[in-house]
Symmetry: C2
Subunit: 271 residues, 2 copies
């Protein structure tokens, strides 16, 4: 690829994300964003009142593997200019989960009616970025191959508490043969802003997962007898911390229905 080809490539991606975003904004696209705009960074989202923002910022900084911060908004401003030219966080996610006092309340496809002038938006990197990198390296990802959402579990791994936020880590799991698992560790190490290297490999019970076939979020996938389950920290972890912190209101994306940004996955790589 030469520089001119790169410009065309990036322009094509931005056109593609503009169409997708218009469909999400209008409520036409309400399903998972997995497999869409796959060269571009997708983000986990947490929206909180400003008086909860400092605690949450500290929680992210204390748990950078589960909560790699790639964007924070101004108070009350629904734009995220560092992540997209005309992003509006009130309309640009396929489906939102509202939490009230830590309980999962309504889901919405648009949060303009519940938006508040003291809301702060946090965007965290997402494993979809490293899935793209793994596929480009020739690896096959079971949930992508089968058109499923990734398997996610409430693990027994504790996170670092910060203010009112605390709880166990949510992990995503993808099965690989050993050689591919080793390659996946190498590739994801390059992408600390997309959760980086796995946190566990092998026996699920060692991280407190009693039934690998029943994920807490997403879909179950088959695991071959010659495969190892490989576990990454997951951006759903803050939703567990929200359940524990019980802010009067908080809004997140629905797992798998992410914010599409205009940043390239490759821009998140450290080497």
């Amino acid at each position: 690829m030469n520089t001119s080809e790169y410009s065309d490539f990036k322009a094509g991606l931005l056109d593609q994300v503009s169409v997708l975003r218009a469909n999400i904004r209008s409520g036409t696209h309400t399903s998972t964003t997995s497999g869409t705009a796959h060269s571009l960074v997708q983000g986990n989202v947490v929206i909180l009142p400003a008086d909860w923002a400092n605690d949450f910022l500290l929680y992210c900084q204390s748990n950078p593997v589960a909560c790699p911060l790639i964007g924070v908004s101004q108070i009350g401003n629904p734009a995220l200019p560092g992540l997209g030219r005309d992003l509006d966080i009130r309309t640009d996610i396929p489906e939102y989960q509202v939490f009230r006092n830590g309980e999962r309340a309504e889901t919405l496809t648009d949060i303009r009616d519940v938006w508040r002038n003291d809301f702060v938006t946090f965007v965290l990197g997402c494993s979809f970025s490293f899935e793209d990198a793994l596929i480009r390296a020739g690896l096959s990802i079971r949930n992508v191959e089968h058109g499923q959402n990734v398997s996610m579990y409430r693990s027994g791994i504790t996170t670092q508490s910060a203010g009112r936020f605390h709880g166990n880590m949510v992990v995503s799991m993808r099965p690989f043969k050993a050689a591919d698992a080793i390659r996946a560790i190498q590739i994801t190490t390059r992408l600390p802003n997309a959760h980086g290297a796995p946190v566990h490999i092998g026996d699920p019970a060692l991280i407190g997962i009693t039934d690998i076939h029943t994920p807490d979020f997403g879909d179950a996938v088959t695991i071959g007898s010659d495969e190892l389950p490989v576990f990454w920290a997951c951006g759903v972890t803050p939703q567990v911390a929200l359940e524990n912190a019980r802010p009067p209101i908080a809004i997140t994306h629905v797992p798998g229905k992410m914010l599409l940004t205009e940043r390239l996955n490759e821009e998140l790589a450290v080497l």
Copy 2:
């Protein structure tokens, strides 16, 4: 460490290796070099008649993970100036294994009497370099902790044939808990000239090892129920290829009794 401290550090290492080399040269030190001069590169050695050298060179280049070449001598010259100031390959290994027509024949502590003017020496990187890097990262290596030689196995992984050289890969195994195994994969990826990342992790049967408790070379180590066996390509692999190629004569080190060089392990790192 500042530059002056680095100079002192390196001078100290060279003094240390000079003493060790003198003891090896005089036949006083005939045991494993594991745990000695641990900041310095140790090498696997294969010595062959010149008319076998081209095939072997191609074999190494075709199998760089098992056979990372870090030095090749001039024909008939026992010096290796790139690896040490006054190295003499005829005297500077604790114990040599002579192969005759592919069969393990005598072992010697000095090969001056069998040296030939057509011999070519090949030196390959060794896992002792990455053991040093793992220990510096705070990992505990079972065989080092217990003062044992590492466990090595004839695996079912085939190598790329080259001329008369062919055969399966020998692998070394170290058990780790999952998080340490992941860290070990990251660290050894930096050191491709010391075998680099593992070739397998988990079930030994998947790479043709039927009894993990009975290594083909080195010592058996305990593996905890919460640990995964992690397998790296091993510089003993060429000895299997020698058994198959059956050159009239070849000389190697005895596994675990390596050539001490004056190169720092850190000089082998790619990043």
